[in-house]
Symmetry: C2
């Protein structure tokens, strides 16, 4: 079974680099969150709103992963965070060696909190350790309330789930409690936030928790 | 570069099986559409509505791809199409050998039009030929109007793009014309439909075209 052996070797090599990344981040006192979701669930908008709220309190850096374009990195930089763009040119997930390279472009001596915005994909990024402290999956009220059951691995490896686009609940068939039940059945330790990046609902609680996380207290 | 060589061999082996699948489908006079999108863009609902409208006119079969669960296959069967569920158990896309196996479970002598609902993933399924006649990508108005530029490969390999969730346009920032421009810049031959599976808007035009497609006329 050469295919499986090689896949395992690639993942093992990734994990080695991820450990190196994690040590480097820990040495600099940087806390790191790998943000994952389907395309269009609102990762970039969540980061824009978060940075706008927290920029006075801490220095935030963002490694922005996209298959193509630098549009998201430009949005994040405008919001006030130091940003490095990774273009994977077709690849469906970020890998640890990409993070190691991106960190050389960031002024890591001055960053407290680092977000890694992964490729929009609810499957493949869940398999790749990037050296992060925490993984957050963003789901949205417009993408159907069956996603944890249908894409369980992503919810199993995450420590935080953010349910976004609460403002659209009146116009869609989406049962937030069902999603929470499904997600918690897969991962009972999951910390859940419910937000609308459009109206700002729920962002206070998310940002308050981020401050304690960045200070190493959660 | 052993990694790349083996990846190419796997894709070449897939293409060989895809040709076999295509010949088998052609022999039985079945026209086949591979439906792809992000998670939650509305593939299953589109198929439900389409089957409900066309079931009197033709026999429709569906191969339903999911990582886990058979919920979608149950929805499709209730709508009136013969359905086979593929659970990929973690894999992020369908491959031709899965379709070959699934066809053995379908009564292909009596099917005119076959849909293959791929895994919800705007990246990986674009690389895998399944022996289909046509690829359709579904995007929705809630997932941001930058998706063709950010995930170009999916739009390059598709012949049809369906913009779904038109009913939510009043509540989101989404420029349909921008999406069409981006998609057509990547693939000028793309045939575009705009629908709301919730209200039924645009489904007449889509189903009329499907009838001509199933009859081999487009």
């Amino acid at each position: 079974m050469p295919k499986i052996t090689i896949a395992q070797n690639i993942l093992a090599a990734n994990d080695t680099i991820a450990q190196e990344v994690q040590q480097s981040l820990a040495t600099h006192g940087i806390r790191t969150i790998n943000v994952m979701s389907s395309p269009g669930a609102g990762k970039t908008t969540l980061l824009e709103r978060t940075i706008a709220r927290l920029r006075g309190e801490m220095a935030i850096g963002v490694i922005e992963g996209d298959i193509e374009t630098s549009a998201d990195a430009e949005r994040i930089e405008t919001a006030g965070a130091e940003t490095v763009q990774i273009n994977t040119r077709g690849a469906c997930h970020l890998e640890a060696h990409m993070i190691r390279a991106a960190l050389k472009e960031l002024d890591i001596a001055h960053i407290n909190l680092l977000f890694i915005e992964n490729i929009g994909n609810l499957v493949c990024p869940s398999e790749w350790d990037l050296g992060e402290d925490l993984r957050a999956v963003v789901v949205s009220t417009t993408e159907g309330d069956d996603k944890p059951a249908k894409y369980p691995q992503m919810f199993a490896v995450s420590q935080v789930m953010i349910v976004n686009k609460l403002d659209l609940l009146p116009y869609v068939d989406y049962d937030v409690e069902k999603v929470k039940r499904q997600a918690l059945a897969i991962n009972p330790q999951l910390r859940i936030f419910q937000v609308s990046c459009r109206t700002g609902e729920g962002l206070d609680a998310w940002c308050e928790w981020l401050v304690t996380f960045a200070n190493g207290k959660s």
